[in-house]
């Protein structure tokens, strides 16, 4: 005290204060805080818990992987991802229960809405994540992709879809869209062994960024027309202002539609789909198809049906046209594809057309049908791509449809599973696919757009053809095993000219490379079974086969590079065709997909009720 008094005498209160200041510099800064406070938003954590768990889990996984000396083991990351997405799913169910009891609510300054709709999307996204983790496990081991990046990116992407589902603000929708998409761009490039993977990622990235820019422009114009980005604000503003013919608003709405249309692969904006679906690693393709459609349609339905509801007369005709084109082009081009992944890509475009039917109906029934469609389609597509993943073998190549011939003989279970999933996509009764198509068509007919319903049914018939084609091919017996070089050209009525190519491969003569090397043959070896015979197994055999020292060296190296893990994994059956080993995790995933597809196809009640209630809660 006397010291302070001394200071007072020396330099007055300033000095005294200053010395106190120096002693407790940090503590006295505390006193600088001003009094006026900003009203901070209230956060109800239940609303964002699924996202927090998913994102937090991804970040945690990334952190753990960053701190461990050796790469984290795949089993650890897979189990971690499954647990995290399971927890997220559980929380989403909790949300659902809460909303059923207490009704929907908004939180975080109105940026987030929790209703049945958002809970459904969260459940869907976390389930898709869980299944993809199971499918990806075997794939990543097979391809030698180390590290947790696949899981981290997928989880972030899934949480992006969840954010899109619960967003109540255009800005938040945009962020969800970007979080989802950017992670998907990178996932598409995840397999560095395939140049097509990188190419797919680049195409997806460039076109996706472009569409994002268009989307942002749409947000800007909508903001310009209404003075806000919050969906609730939009709704109330549009209901109090007669702005139906306002150019700015219409333009903004149109651009938003383009942005969404790109994400869900509706037709004029679908160009990226086949290349990306084909090039991306197969489990990623399944995930992408499920997640991008879920997130995209979630936000699309919420924005258009709920916020732009008063503008229905303006946007329904546009959606009408887009839906028709999407249905026709998707189904038509899928028929002529020779690559299974590409075919599934076009079929996903076709499916997008069906979901658009629900949007076009623009009422509770339509939204319910669309939700049901998206929900069930996710299981079908993830399951289908899981099978494709397994059959892709090392390098994830050889998805030629011809390779699926006689699959049933080699791998009856896998063939059966694929057949079921394809038939479900085709809309065969007693599957969810049938109910989904039925509901959207019924909704659109109810909404006085019957011609659209007819087009949809027509496209479903075309689609049934190409799904059945693959299913039938799997149960068609194989050709003779060894075809002498240049002797025989088989014409296959189903696969067409492909058969002759297969025959050439069978002879060890490939179209593109040097005749002796026959890389095409060895690559397709697993599935295009004629090729199996082509690559000689021993050096002696090879010498007989070619007689050239140089070729021996080249082929030896090629084999060493290409067949590394095929040796370890592939089990040959007696007939000489190669079976793929099916990892248990993938069996579980495919099993779940088929179970959902078939069980809810036979007992439709619960799932239909589920989507129906989500819709009611959305429209409140």
């Amino acid at each position: 005290m006397s010291f302070l008094g001394f200071l007072d005498g020396l330099g007055g209160p300033h000095v005294r204060d200053g010395v106190i200041h120096l002693v407790v510099v940090l503590a006295s800064v505390h006193a600088l805080a001003a009094v006026t406070a900003i009203h901070v938003p209230h956060i109800r954590y239940l609303a964002i818990l699924p996202e927090i768990v998913m994102l937090g889990g991804a970040v945690l996984l990334l952190g753990v992987a960053s701190l461990s000396d050796r790469p984290v083991r795949m089993s650890v990351t897979t189990v971690g991802t499954v647990v995290i997405s399971g927890a997220s799913m559980g929380l989403a169910w909790w949300q659902w229960a809460d909303v059923r009891q207490h009704g929907p609510f908004t939180t975080v300054a109105g940026a987030v809405v929790t209703d049945g709709f958002s809970a459904l999307i969260a459940i869907l996204a976390s389930t898709a994540m869980l299944l993809t983790a199971l499918v990806g496990d075997g794939y990543l081991r097979r391809e030698g992709v180390e590290g947790p990046e696949f899981h981290v990116l997928a989880m972030v992407s899934a949480s992006g879809a969840m954010i899109m589902g619960q967003a109540n603000d255009l800005i938040v929708i945009f962020l969800g869209l970007e979080i989802m998409s950017i992670a998907l761009y990178v996932l598409a490039a995840l397999n560095p062994r395939r140049a097509t993977s990188g190419e797919a990622a680049l195409k997806y990235f460039v076109l996706g960024s472009f569409s994002s820019a268009i989307f942002v422009y749409g947000i800007a114009l909508t903001y310009g027309a209404t003075g806000g980005t919050n969906l609730a604000h939009l709704t109330s503003y549009l209901s109090t202002h007669a702005l139906s013919s306002n150019g700015v608003l219409l333009a903004g709405m149109g651009l938003l539609l383009v942005g969404f249309g790109f994400k869900v692969a509706a037709v004029p904006f679908h160009m990226w789909t086949p290349d990306v679906y084909q090039g991306a690693p197969s489990p990623v393709t399944g995930f992408m198809a499920a997640i991008a459609k879920a997130g995209g349609f979630a936000a699309l339905l919420r924005v258009f049906v709920s916020s732009f509801g008063t503008l229905r007369p303006d946007w329904r005709p546009i959606v009408y046209v887009i839906a028709i084109v999407t249905l026709v082009v998707g189904a038509g081009l899928a028929v002529v594809q020779r690559d299974v992944k590409r075919m599934l890509a076009y079929s996903s475009i076709n499916h997008a057309g069906f979901v658009l039917l629900g949007l076009q109906a623009a009422d509770a029934r339509g939204v319910s049908a669309a939700l049901y469609y998206v929900f069930t389609y996710s299981f079908m597509v993830i399951g289908s791509f899981a099978v494709v993943t397994l059959l892709g073998r090392s390098g994830d190549v050889g998805h030629d449809i011809a390779g699926y011939r006689a699959l049933a003989r080699r791998q009856p279970v896998l063939a059966l599973a694929f057949a079921v999933l394809l038939l479900a996509q085709a809309g065969v009764p007693f599957t969810t696919g049938f109910l989904a198509k039925l509901q959207v068509v019924a909704a659109v007919v109810d909404a006085h757009s019957a011609p659209l319903g007819f087009v949809a049914m027509g496209s479903a018939a075309i689609a049934a053809f190409f799904y059945l084609r693959v299913a039938v091919l799997m149960y068609t017996p194989r050709r003779p095993r060894w075809v002498p070089p240049g002797r025989e050209i088989v014409f296959d009525p189903i696969v067409g000219p492909q058969a002759s190519t297969a025959a050439r491969e069978g002879s060890g003569v490939s179209g593109q490379a040097e005749p002796e090397i026959a890389p095409g043959g060895s690559l397709d070896g697993g599935t295009a079974e004629g090729a199996v015979a082509t690559v000689p197994r021993t050096l002696a055999e090879l010498r007989l086969w070619s007689g050239s020292e140089r070729t021996v060296a080249v082929v030896e190296r090629l084999n060493a590079d290409l067949l590394i893990d095929r040796e370890a994994e592939a089990v040959e059956d007696g007939a000489g065709g190669r079976r793929v080993r099916v990892p248990p995790a993938a069996i579980v995933a495919i099993g779940i997909c088929i179970a959902v597809t078939v069980v809810f196809g036979i007992v439709p009640g619960p799932l239909v009720d589920f989507t129906h209630h989500s819709t009611l809660l959305l429209l409140r």
Partner: protein
Amino acid sequence: MSVLGSFAGSSSTLVGGLPSSLAVDPLFSRGVHWQEVVIVIIRVLVAFGVLLGSVVMMIWFERKLISDMQSRIGPNRAGPWGLLQTLADGIKLFFKEDLVPNRSDRFVFKLAPYLTLVPALLIFSVVPVGGVVTVAGHTFELQVADPPMGILVVLAMSSISVYGVMLAGWASGSKYPLIGSVRASAQMISYEAALGLTVIAVVIVSGSLSTRAIVAHQAPAFWDWNVLRLGVVPFLIFVVAITAEMNRPPFDLVEAESELVGGFNTEYSSIRFALFYLAEFMGVITMSGVMVTLFFGGPDGPIPRFIPTSDLWFPSVWFLAKVFVFLFFYVWVRAALPRLRYDQLMDVGWKALIPLSLAWLLDVGAVIVWGWWALVVIAVEIALGGVLWRAFVVGSRRSEVAAIYPPIASRMLTVVPEPTAEEEQE
């Protein structure tokens, strides 16, 4: 506490400016009167002249001081004590050949000096160099401009200054400049992050981005200068970061003569070279001014009780005195410290300065909000520091490089055996 209370009041007038009733629609009242324009132009001209003059003096000062430190005489021919040496050098450069190398990208090559000079110049505009003066009825501060985002002008310009170095090196179409510019641009962006983070710590306590408001918050005496109020560390980080940002020794890898001839400006001659040189020293002066503004109370005197600060001249004198200390410091550092190696430079920036400055600014925020409970935050940060260290260890272990060349001895001594006939047939 009474001291602190008084700032809070002064800040709102400075930051707030006009009451909201006057700012109903700025579109109506945005016009600038011609008298103001004239005053602005005069201010700018004066500031520019002063800055150029001080650059000339600074170059002389540096050469002279360095020679003293190295027991040399230094420039002593042109003018008294060689004072006019810089001027003579400048004039000489006008008479030199202006070469544009034939491998260069001519447009970018000519553009680069401007991109170095202009940012260095513009930073000076927001530095308050004195108190408030009244001329012909107009009252203004001794400062070229005091925009509301003042300190961001400094950061924006320092981020723009990357371009000059980067483009100069690339456009030269020559090896050494390119290497110098690669190094420099990576270095500059690395240290810019630390720079921005320390400035945020300052903004947290002053609650405003305006440089004038930041200075006002450090009144009235030296114990309220941010250097002490923020606990010295942000200042130290800022000094290091700003030195690296300007490519001054010991961070001058850009122009490491022993490795890179002359660095990014190897191919430059004549007045273009002079512009680079000018920009470098202008940067030293303006950045010293920024440091004084942010951490040392700008034009305020240390203890107002004994030495008045409200006078017309005193603030400017104080300001110059403080800046001079930093100028001396820079020259001293140049004379005393050896140049860093590139990996050391990157390590200092990324592994020390950036994490530390981020942690410190969060600490400052935590102290303001939570008082002593901020210790919890600090403890967590220390733990995270350990985690970060672990990540560095993992990183360096993972990127361990296999030497691709065999030991020299075996390279020299391996006897290559003639292939035998059998092997040849094989």
